[in-house]
């Protein structure tokens, strides 16, 4: 009897990770941003229903993300990040979306990037952002 209970508990415990593996996707996205406040905004935006874990690295600009692929897809997460005003590689936010970020987080601004020690933005300043957004993922950089 006792053994049965222990066995059942062990199976239940071991099944947690395997249950997770089947529909869990782990991926990284390149997301543009400047600072700690951007990190907060990006992670907050990406942490939608179905997303299990988010972590944006300030130095590499990589957003590590773990989500349930039966509940949400990558497009949905990218759309959420865009709507918070942040550019994702190959998915540039619209000007209206970008305008919502705080004045100290204007990550497309060349001067600001320089003062934070960053290279070129994902969104090139001389191109129109609307066009980028329309092309979506097809646009190769």
């Amino acid at each position: 009897m006792k053994l049965k209970t222990i066995l059942a508990a062990a199976i239940l415990f071991l099944s947690i990770p395997s249950f997770g593996q089947s529909n869990i996707t782990e991926t990284t996205l390149e997301v543009d941003g400047l600072c700690g406040m951007c990190k907060k905004r990006i992670e907050n935006a990406a942490y939608i229903q179905g997303v299990k874990k988010v972590n944006w690295d300030l130095s590499t600009h990589e957003l590590a993300i773990t989500y349930r692929n039966d509940k949400v897809n990558e497009q949905g997460i990218i759309a959420a990040i865009n709507s918070a005003g942040h550019d994702v590689k190959d998915h540039i936010a619209t000007d209206e979306q970008y305008a919502t970020v705080h004045g100290c987080c204007t990550y497309r601004d060349a001067e600001m990037r320089k003062s934070h020690g960053l290279d070129d933005a994902l969104c090139k300043p001389n191109e129109t952002h609307e066009e980028h957004h329309a092309h979506g993922g097809k646009d190769k950089h």
Partner: protein, 675 residues
Amino acid sequence: MILAVAFGCTVNTALGQSDSSSIQLFETLDQVNIGSDPGISLSKKAIITQELISEVELRKAACCDLSESFETNASISASFTDAVTGTRQIRLLGLEGPYALYTKGNLTTMGGLASVMGLGFIPGAWIQSIQLTKGPGSVVNGAGAISGQINYELRPSFTEQIGHVNLFAGPGRFEQNLIYTWHQSKKWSSNIMVHGRQQLFRWDGNKDGYLDTPLSRHFFVQNAWKFNGKNSEGQLGIKFSSADNIGGSTLYGKETLAPIWSHELQTDRYELWAKRGYFLKGGINRSIGTQFSANYQDLDSYFGERLFKAKELRTYGNLIFQDNIIDTRRSIKVGADFNLHNVEQEMWGFNGDYDASTFGIYGEYSYVASPDGEGLSMILGQRLDHLNITDNVDKFFYVPRLHIKYNSGAWSLRSQVSRSYRYTTLGAEYMGYMANNRVFNLSSGSAPAVESAWTLGTSGAFTKDIAFKELQITGDVFLTKFDRKMTLDLDQDTETALFYNRSWTMNEWEDQPYSLSAQFGGQYELLHRTLFKFAYRYQKVTQLNLTAFNQGIDNELEEVILNVPHLLYGGISYTGTKGLGIELNATYNSSQRLPNVGYDDRSPAFTMLGGQVSKEFRKRGQVYLGLQNALNVRQLNPILGGDLPFEDRFDASVVWGPIMGRQVYMGWRYDLRKP
């Protein structure tokens, strides 16, 4: 994991955050974890058992000053010292407020006169974060901290968040906070903090003829400077606090036939501090630092027919040298400090004056097996103090402390054995007991009494990702054994407050009064964006049974009054994507022992339930609306014999529960960032 971090938008974030002594710079930097902020977090690297309470957590409660900042934390309970002054005192490991050490950026701030009421002088809106250490901490900060250390960091000036406004309104209570960084250059920055508080309306919800909360007017202002040089760092500041309270009968200031019992308190406090740290050549962590602080406080008050006047002058200085030895895994701190303390107190016939001076030298060795905190770490600290109190104490105290930590994967285990001592300030620490007509029976005199204790503590923390979310489980047990202790006893009758100072030898260790505290808790994001927290705490606190002692039995211990043996805490916290926050908190307090004569045996058990909804707007700041004491629990008769306030029986000093019932509050916060 969730995310409402209010840290500045800046590359300097980490620097601005660790607005503490330069000596602690490296340690504090390690603990800052931008972005992942569950509110209360445990530092994996800290060798001493510590909880970091961030601004996110502080925003979850209606916290208006430091004494009210622990509503969502089971480690600390805050309760009223009495029913008239509105002063709250905290209890940590079952011990009252003065047993803890309070530091601002690791600089000792309160003691003596301010050891209880001083917490009310630190507005919650000024605080950036609180580091709570259970049990005695580092010897660098002195030989006190019998129950632990509460280190608070105020909002820094080197940050891009240059302004903060917080307006609060509760029942008859209004608070205004304004923080503004008016100067920032490459090396220097300075901010000004202003706080105003008013209780304007007479509030007597229980209709006992006494104000539930005193009419008050508080005004605090502070100007702090910070210097960041190439190889050095410095801070200096001044602060002025003024508080004016009127409590007692609701008829204060009106014409009455019979005399009324009232209370007034007026106090001004001036503070000045400076810190300086230099990084020396020849070693990565070689540095030298100085800390200096001075404060003066003037207090004028009466409690019915009792007058209490006090003046305090305190100066403190500390010189610390830090270096690595052999390699970066081993470091030492050595230094010397002093604390000069002059107190003049006038208490209806008692002389509470004293002059105390402490000179100490210390050395601390720490070892960390690996930089990520894995494996074994330890701190071995020792200090030798010479304490002189006029005509009373002239003695050396040896204070050894050992902290050990072992990290292995998801587990961290910590243990400590520590010695600590302090001295009491009879008037100010027991101010709540002036709100009665008991005769103070000071059989061991009114001079400061030295109290000393050994603390044994052990704690374990387990953190692991389960279904991709972090599960955190913690537990700890602390035992504090006193070999010198001041006992206050209200059990004899309703007319006397007995004070007695006693010491115990090593052979009498079984008879020593003790405090035992055990806590178990955890947190997990069970639902998406919703954090669930729970905690259970057990506390047994004993003291010398003075009634038995006076009958010749000198080794009997009894449970102290007003200790909550069992406490259960549960909290749910939801953070939405669009800036919505919902908090729910419940705390169950089991029944507390009351004085033997004139009261019921024990108080009833009660549950405090509260909630808050907040919404952060992109441009217009954050608004919050909260409900405190939703179940409307009250101690209906907090003042015994209130109808005959000049009879011996009058007693407003035994408060076990809330005096105010259900309360709604609201407020608005706004952060101004650099354009």
